[in-house]
């Protein structure tokens, strides 16, 4: 236990620093807040009119409430998916800040191992992002539940939690790798600006990915965060989509559901091939492991150079 105390102490310290910095928490939620604001202002109407247009030939088989909930599910997917990018990034900024302020020298001069320092940053960011995203998810599902049923089943919820955990681990590993190249907080903040601006588009929060041309779709679908958002969309809105399909009663042979899955990017397409959810999941895990290995190999060298 005493041997683990160093790692746990470092992890606790990193988390305390993050949670005591209200500015960092606010900025980590800024993009999700912007998505919410845009949704309330016009995105919801845009999504709803596409949905109503597609359902026009089906008479009144699909209720307005179900359509509303389906679109709300898409919003929550966007919020969670961007949170899975911006929260780990903000939680990891401590690496650059510690280097800039030379706080890491204090750690290096103690008996804790260099790999423990690196792992502590990783564990703190994953824990922080997971907790914060789970709070957002719980609030989101709570609000949606008050509005009507999302037809979520227990397996969907368990899978959602699993995907959120995978998303936090994946984003943390990738951003830790990127952080190695940042020497100061100025560069770090500039990258955060780009990330905030781009993330909503890449994961299809503002406009469904199906609206982009094939080349852009290919690139976006190779980004693990996009895969994560597709997984979340499936597990969060899959239930209501199935319910709508049941409401139609098979008169369209599932054409409406297939069309919705295409339009609102429930499927992953990369280089002309459609990936199953399991294949997407495997791809994300492979990318995460590769970045994790790169971090494990390169970071200790960075600290040895200090």
């Amino acid at each position: 236990m005493a041997k683990l105390r160093g790692l746990l102490g470092l992890t606790k310290r990193n988390m305390l620093v993050y949670f005591n910095n209200k500015g960092a928490i606010f900025f980590s939620m800024l993009t999700p807040i912007i998505i919410l604001a845009l949704y309330l202002l016009f995105l919801k109407n845009t999504f709803l009119s596409s949905l109503e247009g597609a359902a026009a030939g089906l008479g009144n088989l699909i209720s307005d409430g179900d359509m509303d909930q389906f679109v709300n599910g898409l919003l929550l997917t966007g919020i969670i998916s961007t949170a899975l990018l911006t929260i780990p990034y903000n939680a990891l900024e401590i690496i650059v800040k510690d280097r800039e302020d030379k706080v890491d020298l204090d750690m290096i001069s103690t008996p804790v191992k260099r790999w423990e320092i690196i792992l502590s940053y990783f564990l703190a960011a994953v824990t922080t992002a997971f907790l914060q995203t789970m709070i957002v998810l719980s609030c989101g599902i709570g609000i949606l539940a008050a509005n009507g049923s999302m037809y979520l089943v227990a397996t969907d919820l368990i899978k959602l939690v699993g995907v959120i955990l995978l998303g936090t681990v994946s984003s943390t590993a990738i951003f830790m790798f990127i952080m190695m190249f940042f020497k100061n907080m100025g560069t770090c903040s500039a990258f955060m600006g780009i990330l905030s601006a781009v993330s909503g588009f890449v994961i299809g929060a503002y406009i469904p990915l199906s609206e982009f041309n094939k080349n852009i779709q290919n690139v976006c679908n190779l980004v693990p965060a996009t895969g994560i958002s597709i997984l979340i969309r499936n597990y969060l809105s899959g239930g209501i989509l199935r319910h709508m399909d049941e409401s139609i009663g098979g008169v369209d042979n599932g054409a409406f559901m297939d069309a919705m899955r295409e339009v609102f990017s429930f499927n992953t397409y990369a280089f002309g091939k459609s990936w199953t959810l399991n294949q997407s999941c495997t791809y994300i895990i492979i990318v995460t492991v590769l970045f994790g290995l790169a971090v494990r190999i390169i970071y200790p060298k960075v600290y040895n150079k200090r």
Partner: protein, 306 residues
């Protein structure tokens, strides 16, 4: 007395630039050892090498008998460092800062609470215990920095310019703590400073310039080796006195207001006795560490505003 630190031909190079050039010295256990030099002289680089933060280019060093580079973990348990710039977290309270740092050394909560009891009264921790580090005054911060460096009861305390930027009262307070540690804890203290007067109480002084050791010894030895004495002769400015000075073994003299400033090494007592009828009053001033530094490097050190 055994040596706490033994350094033999220690060198640090950054490409073609030599930051520390084959320096050798030793520090006895319980000694206050002052490392003197301008900014960029190589003081902090030496401390960083000895504290295992920075790998050395060549040379050997032993701290408390442990070999640098081979027994670094043992060395890390023997040393505490008060860094030039604080390395504690602004957003955390004093309690959070110290408790998390204690974990780096493998201490549990209760072990840390026991350890901190020893500092509670001496360092007045109670009044600042639950205050955020960023809300503390400069002197209070330094106090906490020192406690942080001592939480694992090290044998050697490195103080890297601990009073830089502090007001005179805080500087005095820091020195009171240092003196307390010397007297009661029998700590070996390795001090770097560019304030000359702070070296006066040191047992040994090493002066560095451009990565090289240019002088070492006790403050008294250095003063007698590298500076002369000055006689302040309160008398009138007249031809007779000028004649007396011209015919004595003075190096140079100058009249100011109501006295002659006379530089001479030998025969001050004889001079004053011989000319006792001409003197209203007199003072003999020994050279200062500033004079030592000026003689050795041709440069003046930063003025201490305390």
């Amino acid at each position: 007395m055994q040596n706490a630190i033994e350094v033999n031909k220690l060198q640090k190079k950054y490409g073609d630039m030599t930051a520390v050039n084959n320096i050798s010295f030793s520090v006895k256990q319980g000694e206050l050892f002052a490392f003197l030099g301008e900014n960029g002289a190589g003081k902090s680089t030496t401390i960083n090498m000895l504290s295992t933060i920075l790998p050395r280019t060549s040379g050997e060093a032993r701290l408390m008998g442990h070999e640098l580079g081979k027994e670094d973990d043992l060395i890390r348990n023997e040393i505490g460092i008060v860094f030039q710039n604080s390395v504690l977290d602004n957003k955390l309270t004093v309690k959070q800062n110290l408790m998390t740092r204690g974990a780096y050394y493998g201490y549990s909560k209760s072990e840390m609470a026991d350890r901190l009891k020893g500092f509670w009264e001496e360092f007045n921790l109670e009044e600042i215990w639950n205050r955020k580090y960023e809300k503390l005054s400069g002197g209070q911060r330094r106090r906490v920095d020192i406690v942080r460096a001592l939480i694992h009861k090290p044998s050697i305390l490195f103080l890297d310019e601990p009073t830089t930027g502090l007001d005179p009262m805080s500087r005095k307070m820091v020195w009171d703590y240092i003196n307390h540690l010397r007297r009661h804890e029998k700590l070996t203290i390795f001090l770097t400073t560019h304030y000359m007067e702070e070296t006066a109480e040191a047992d040994n002084v090493v002066i560095m310039d451009k990565g090289n050791i240019i002088a070492e010894g006790t403050p008294a030895e250095l003063k007698s080796r590298y500076t002369g004495k000055k006689l302040i002769w309160y008398t009138e400015e007249c031809e007779k006195n000028k004649q007396i000075l011209e015919n004595s073994n003075v190096h140079k003299y100058q009249y100011e207001a109501d006295h002659y400033n006379i530089a001479m090494d030998e025969g001050i007592t004889e001079f004053v006795w011989k000319n006792r009828d001409m003197v209203k009053d007199f003072e003999v001033i020994k050279g200062t560490m500033d004079d030592v530094f000026l003689t050795l490097t041709g440069k003046e050190m930063v003025e201490c505003n305390g």
